[in-house]
Subunit: 339 residues, 2 copies
Amino acid sequence: MSKRMGRQTVRCGFPPSIYTSYCIAGKKEGEGPLGAFFDEINEDARFGEDTWEKAESTLVKNTICGLLEKSGLTQDEIDYITAGDLLNQCSGSHFAIRSFGIPFFGLYGACSTMAESMSVAAMLVDGGFASKVIAATSSHFCASEKQYRFPLEYGGQRTPTAQWTVTGSGAVVIGKTSAPPYITHITTGKIIDKGITDPNNMGAAMAPAAADTILAHFDDTGFSPEEYDLIITGDLGKTGSNIFNELLKKEGLDIEKRHMDCGTEIFDHSQDAHAGGSGCGCSAVTFCGKIMKDLQDKKINNVLFMATGALMNPTSSLQGESIPSIAHALRITNQGGNV
Amino acid sequence: MSKRMGRQTVRCGFPPSIYTSYCIAGKKEGEGPLGAFFDEINEDARFGEDTWEKAESTLVKNTICGLLEKSGLTQDEIDYITAGDLLNQCSGSHFAIRSFGIPFFGLYGACSTMAESMSVAAMLVDGGFASKVIAATSSHFCASEKQYRFPLEYGGQRTPTAQWTVTGSGAVVIGKTSAPPYITHITTGKIIDKGITDPNNMGAAMAPAAADTILAHFDDTGFSPEEYDLIITGDLGKTGSNIFNELLKKEGLDIEKRHMDCGTEIFDHSQDAHAGGSGCGCSAVTFCGKIMKDLQDKKINNVLFMATGALMNPTSSLQGESIPSIAHALRITNQGGNV
């Protein structure tokens, strides 16, 4: 039986497995340090479509098709899909998923969506509502720039704290099997807003949310950082990661040696991505590519995967509002589980 | 123990109660046929704020505060909030919910969000992850017109099939108690797209999704329409309701006498709302106001509550895309339950 632990965490009664992952990344991401870990790298930013929005939907559709093929599963064997993305009204996911005929829960957690969709998927399985659930998300650099910032043709200057939206989509099948890795604990974030108003510094806005969730996770579970081989944040980037580690040190917690940020890892310095990668796709392809491979190869055995999201929109920023943020965390382990 | 029934339905093992509801509606909605059922009617469309977007957030915040007060609960007693809305990146919900400090799952299901948030909330409770969850949603006429159609000042003409976005927010507390009504069955929609491209005729786009979900519900559960005192659709409006009933008759199912559409009920003919009300708030205030009162008064004892959503965005429509839609259904009953 699942069990609540403190304010924000549940322990799964019968920890679900993540038994397949699949991810597709764009050309720039493929040229970065994680390129070797992606299932597919697509050289064509348009994915064969005539608009950036349709390109993102095709990216998601191809990712789910790839996942099903890699899993040896048909769409009829999947009980639910949980997914969302950054496009207005999550249209990237909807236009992709309409062709699958699978019961669907649409989610919005900005760049925290991979952790949110995995949390809900794991609960659907552990709660006995499903045997197999696909959790997915995506982002596309060109579609995001157009919607959130400037038309690409404008060639706008980027600030040093700005991040580069990853073109990529990741998806996992979560279900009841005896194969590791397992999702054992789910710590769900609260919305935290410390008054940051600069949409070109989302790392600073999200860092307090990440700190809040990880402190809740340790508080609720009694774990210490030593429990984990790796503590993974979604896309704080360089600026946000520094703030995150500083905030934790003020609370007497030093996780710096075990900390890895997907936004910091996905591009290298030569790729001109400023403070790092961002977008739902950033933590999605890093998790579905590198982290899953390292878990399966037993290079690492216990991770805390915590994706972070900035919950503003362009209108709220123009109206001078600050940036509410959230972080959702999952403990993922090769040990124990439902064997 | 919860049980899957067929492709899209689960039966709750220990049916959660909806034990409080609260709703706030705007002036026009208050003047309509359901005015007497709303907990609050707000005469000021700005809700004391200086922008429509902030007005919607204040509406949601006031609704949740009202719900907590009516329930005699504090925010610390609520394990999760599940919510979303029509504003880009669901900002209506985020700016409202940031002040509560409650673990949050953001959802996007367009106008199906009330049924989606209640579905996820009920599963969190029935799966043993939570004792009490708030499910909420909202919409605001002025914020929606600005974002989806034209600036209000433009005074755009509306087509006969167009619907009027309801200004309103509804929220429920779902939890483990012995007080009816109970949520016993949850039928989760698939995304259905029959090729309708006119964003001024969302009823036509959503009707096939509603038909698909209700057929799945009867197929999965073995129930017949006679099971229900009332079969409630979200906001098909007059045009969509006619198509919905026609589609079902073609499948040999006549539910017309038991069918009620929130979009058709919320305004009367004199209110110039054309095909009826729409928006997440439409089914939210109708359910949280009228339906919950009628259930509590035992005027009705068994309902199927099915909210419908059109999952396009303005960009996809301008790009000539059709409108993917979804409908989520819950069986809500005064009988049985977890006594």
